[in-house]
Symmetry: C2
Subunit: 319 residues, 2 copies
């Protein structure tokens, strides 16, 4: 028995998941769709798995990582924009008054994103993100953002890929932002990252060559009903496996799991105030309300972070 | 010698390409970027190859395949649109007067495309295309459109993939149209097809489930400067290998081959009036004018179809 347990422990593909209904549901689904000749077999070409990012693959509290980036960019760019000292939401950002800055809601955030995410080439933007990301930390946990991914989700991505799945990110975050770190962080190459997308303009610049200039206009808001749209535009196939954590994932989960045929839908429920954060129906970031009801009604798997995850974040130095 | 020739013939990855400068340029490039430790080595993750479709992977004369589909759909849908009997460009289409129908230029074509490519679910559209495509023939050659792909380009796609390249279609054609046959025809899965894209609307329909409704509004015109834009949006990496056939590919070729580093750009020059069609600088479909000049200036490889290709189309029954 001891030898058998050791052998199982060695080959457990999800060591950071505690045994229980959640882990069992994942493993049974993967085994069912990969069992050749079985009633739920799905060919490798159709094993499409999609993952939300913020709150699903990494932490999103106290605010989205990309918002911290945007706010730091406002400060860095302020010398070129003297008008920002009196113009909201920039004036509040520069005074360090985040509450004031975000009082303008979606419109204020959109202005901050446009001011910090357009007007440069895609290459220059990627370099700026990479430099920022190499040192930026979560202010509450004093830990690099790159170290605030979820260890159990890393194992799940690896497990799915080892079973012939293609793994995609489908996030409300910016596509050009996430692609800077998606491969290093998650083993997900740029072509498998779907996110909110700005228009681009091609220019052949003298002495520079061909470049793409990021425009302020939006091509795709990859959130809510925009997630199935992004999936169709980029992948062109319906996923059979989807994971999210908020009501912004509801339509992606419906699109994956309501049609006939084998499918798996999971929701990360943030229940761990000690190791991470605890929030759901009343949260401003990552609100999970309709999603919890839909999960109960449709039989989706809800991960109880506190009880299902043996560890939350990777050991320091890994991701 | 005979034995050596036979061995080479057996292993020649491009048997439908005649020996000469064009074939040599392709093979030497692929060998250079796949030679580990060599000065031009490119890791597999960066071996991105992009191909135009119409006129590059298959024939585009006397008109784009998708236009024949759209015209046939106008005829099929006419009973539901009595107003079309007097409304241009539909009236001319229904009278079989193609010249009259296309007299309205881009605007007329856009109206025909909108009327035949929107208002249905993506699934219904795909079924309609598949049914049409299974029997539709090129009117001049009396050959199935599915049999009008270029045998040498099939071999090139296979050769690149065998050498670790990822192959993408980057076409002005409709993304949802091409994805119906791209995998069967070219071994290119839906997620690696980039094309002109319409907006989509997610709906959760009673008794049906989640669907995406094709909208008449355009999200991306994947032609000319839109091709590098589509490449960035979908792939997020610069290609190192690109093939096109018209001025609509110019910016894609510039984007691939003007930056520093190993790269290959090819143009299919239609020079074979007997086996296919001969056209370039003055053609209405597939005009190749600036592209020929750029190829000469920048050292891109121009395929002379007549002399470089041993065969043009696959043997009947294959593709
Ligand atoms: Ca989320
Ligand atoms: Ca073309």
């Amino acid at each position: 028995l001891a030898a058998g347990t050791a052998a199982f422990a060695q080959t457990d593909p999800l060591p950071s998941w505690n045994d229980g209904a959640t882990k069992t549901a994942i493993v049974e689904f993967v085994e069912a769709v990969t069992t050749a000749g079985g009633p739920d077999f799905v060919g490798a070409a159709d094993r499409i798995a999609v993952f939300d990012n913020d709150g699903t693959l990494w932490a999103e509290k106290p605010a989205y990582v990309q918002l911290f980036f945007a706010l730091d960019r406002v400060k860095a760019l302020a010398p070129e924009h003297p008008e920002w000292t009196t113009q909201e939401p920039f004036a509040s950002v520069l005074k360090g008054d985040m509450k004031g800055a975000l009082a303008g809601g979606h419109k204020a955030i959109a202005e901050i994103i446009a001011a910090t995410h357009s007007g440069m080439t895609t290459d220059d933007f990627a370099e700026t993100v990479a430099a920022w990301f190499s040192t930026a930390k979560n202010p509450e946990k004093d830990r690099l953002f790159s170290q605030m991914t979820y260890q159990p989700m890393h194992e799940l991505l690896d497990y799915l890929r080892a079973n012939g799945f293609q793994t995609f990110i489908v996030s409300g975050g910016g596509i050009d932002f996430m692609r800077v770190f998606s491969d290093d962080l998650y083993g997900i190459p740029p072509a498998q990252v779907i996110g909110s997308t700005g228009q681009l303009k091609f220019e052949l610049q003298d002495g520079v060559g061909p470049v793409l200039i990021k425009q302020p206009e939006i091509a795709l808001v990859d959130d809510g009903p925009g997630k199935p749209v992004g999936i169709q535009m980029h992948i062109g196939q319906e996923p059979i496996f989807a994971f999210g954590n908020s009501d912004g994932d509801l339509q992606m989960l419906q699109y994956t799991c309501l049609p006939e045929g084998p499918s798996f839908c999971g929701i990360v429920h943030h229940t761990d105030a000690e190791r991470e954060w605890a929030y759901d129906r009343n949260s401003d970031v990552g609100k999970l309300d309709k999603g919890l009801d839909a999960a109960a009604a449709d039989g989706w798997t809800v991960v109880d972070m506190k009880s299902d995850w043996k560890t939350v974040f990777p050991a320091e130095g890994n991701n």
